[in-house]
């Protein structure tokens, strides 16, 4: 028996719903309930850190949606939740709940996205793995760290009652305070009191879904910044608590209370992310029809390091050395809210981007090309309406094709010799043009007007 033992974190697994940070075993991460947001944060929200979500769009409430994920993730993973709001019970009742089928499409792409798998675009793209624009999660992680939630299902009342009875869920109604002028200081005192009286065996999630909304009274920017700093320092001192806050739309704009408001709140929290939805801007909606808004990352948690772990481990941001775009800039991120879930994904042109390397390798199966027309051999596309498909046109010089045929009769292009020959005769006379350098032109045509040539 070997005397060597694997070095592992002592506290790993002792706190429910947490896991050590991939960069440092001293840092425990907890999930926000949204796998892609966890990835942006560097694996999850570290305990003792605060997250602030700004949602400046007045016609949507994506900030509150993130907080609902945060609450139900805490309830599901047996963590304690402290909800501070002007109507906390109604807020909890509006939360989503877990999906029963773990292998359902919550983890994969949506049904309509899956239908793309049947499309044969071109032989050289056949062996490529499916294009990914966001991160999923493994089933193993799901059980322990981040569960799958379904936006179409609601949290059962029995779960809420049980959580309230067992004090797993504690609610604090800000309208119950006697003086609206002292709401912020009362809330700080309440958080301080709760943190001081707790045991360290269960993580506590503190959630403020609408800090500064009318129910909180009339607070100045100085008061709000002071509040953010004090709560941040409180959470920092208690290593088994984390804090998630959303700001209402009127407090999420850049110029509230003068210049640089977003920078000021960014300095006052560990992580600040803006979810800028398109609903108020029809031109953005038409520009990015598959997304509902942009994700702006202002600051990210770095509890014990200079460099935020997200810079090293986030696949979506693409700054890490392992990423395909190492050394280049950060990926643009956008979010969308489908019928079942909220997703953050990379935003890019149709042919580039994504979170994984896409490399084209020669396919083992051959296709015939002649002139500018693609000859179908397998008949796989028969019956599929052309309008909904991505058509690919490949142009090759005839001389090059013929040269390859003559020099290497077993080359992939002429692999099915008889069919190829037949195709050549069917498609007319080959071009006699002489060019110094063989040109290769690939045009991707979708049902949208954008065409890229390279």
């Amino acid at each position: 028996m070997s005397s060597f033992k694997r070095k592992s974190a002592k506290h790993s697994g002792t706190l429910p719903g947490t896991r050590p940070s991939p960069g440092s075993v001293a840092t425990l991460l907890t999930s926000t309930g949204i796998p892609s947001l966890d990835d942006v944060l560097g694996g999850g929200l570290p305990l003792s850190c605060s997250l602030l979500v700004a949602a400046p769009d007045p016609h949507s409430s994506y900030g509150e949606l993130v907080q609902k994920y945060f609450i139900v993730q805490g309830l599901v993973s047996s963590q304690d939740v402290l909800l501070i709001d002007d109507n906390p019970l109604d807020f909890v009742k509006g939360c989503m709940w877990t999906t029963s089928d773990l292998n359902c499409k919550v983890f994969g792409e949506e049904e309509e996205e899956r239908s793309d798998e049947r499309i044969k675009i071109a032989w050289r793209y056949e062996s490529m793995k499916q294009f990914q624009t966001t991160v999923g999660q493994s089933i193993a992680n799901t059980e322990n760290f981040c569960r799958a939630f379904d936006l179409t299902s609601r949290i059962p009342d029995s779960v809420i009652q049980r959580a309230l009875y067992s004090k797993q869920l504690e609610v604090c109604d800000v309208t119950s305070f006697q003086s609206t002028a002292l709401v912020l200081s009362e809330v700080v005192s309440r958080i301080e009191q709760i943190l001081a009286s707790r045991s360290k065996t269960t993580p506590l999630r503190i959630c403020l879904p609408a800090l500064g909304s009318p129910g909180w009274g009339d607070s100045s920017s100085e008061d709000l910044l002071h509040f953010l700093r004090r709560t941040r320092m409180l959470v920092r001192r208690h290593t088994n608590a984390c804090l998630s806050i959303s700001l209402p739309p009127h407090l999420s704009v850049e110029d509230w209370s003068g210049r640089g408001w977003i920078e000021k709140i960014g300095w006052s929290t560990d992580a600040l992310i803006t979810l800028a939805a398109f609903t108020a801007n029809p031109s953005m909606t038409s520009l990015f029809p598959s997304h509902h808004g942009l994700v702006h990352i202002h600051t990210l948690p770095a509890p014990f390091t200079f460099l935020p772990p997200s810079d090293k481990f986030s696949l979506l941001r693409g700054l890490s050395a392992a990423a395909d775009s190492s050394g280049s800039g950060e990926n643009n991120l956008a979010f969308k809210c489908t019928r079942k879930r909220f997703i953050i994904e990379t935003m890019h042109l149709d042919l580039e981007g994504g979170i994984s390397e896409r490399r084209t390798n020669p396919s083992s199966t051959a296709r015939e090309f002649t002139g500018t027309k693609l000859i179908e051999t397998s008949g796989e596309r028969a019956g599929v309406p052309k309008a909904g498909l991505a058509n690919v046109e490949v142009e090759l010089e005839e001389e090059k094709v013929r040269a390859e045929q003559s020099t290497n009769p077993t080359a992939p292009v002429s692999g099915k010799g008889s069919t190829q020959g037949q195709a050549m005769t069917e498609t007319g006379v080959p071009s006699r043009r002489k060019v110094n350098k063989p040109k290769k032109k690939v045009g991707f045509q979708t049902d949208r007007p954008d065409v890229y040539d390279f």
Partner: protein, 244 residues
Amino acid sequence: MFSPFDLPDGIFLLITDELAAPADFALISSLISHLKCFNKTKIIYLSILESWNRLQSLCTKSGINLSPRSVSETLHFIDVLSHLPRLNTNEAPSLRIIYDLVAGILEGRQGGMIILDDISSLEWTGHSLEDLSRFCRALRVLCLKTKTTLIVRHHILAPNEPDELLRRLQQICSYHMDVRPLSSGRSGAVSGEIALHAGPSLLGSDSRPESVQVKLLSRQRALQYRLTDSDVVFFERGSSRGVL
């Protein structure tokens, strides 16, 4: 002061940064550098944002254990917010308490370091410009009397529009370290760049020994840096040494 800047002791260093390029590393590198050079001088860390746990963790990774120094009272970590009036009170916040605290610690001592992290937060939480200017001037005078290095961090909100507080700080500082993000956005290979300017008290005084040794860096010749977990790597702009 930390390499490659090697600033002399006893100066007033103003460090400005932006949200996309925080200057935590500059403050903590200065602290570590001072702790490695001087064992028994007093160091006062006036913190508004930084937590003791994070500071301790970062210093431990550089081979410095802060706990014994805190016990022996050569290092004082002061949470400024806990000494100031609470929220929503009508009491006028005064920084006199903090100044008295610092002056009491430095009494009868020579050499040392005061780090104020950061002054912008005090302004944003309701302290007047006059109060902050007076506080900084008072700290500067105290440092001159006790030959103590003063480092003040200031967050810039709008890069091209210096605020009034920054103008006043620039008037009394010895050096201004300008930490900025890349204009092209975040990158995995370059975290940001640093320029070093001389303050008005040093301009035109090339004969002063401290100004002769320091190599100033304009924004056009700014030094680029890349952050790691507990360290920072500097390299010249346009070279691939820091990237490859």
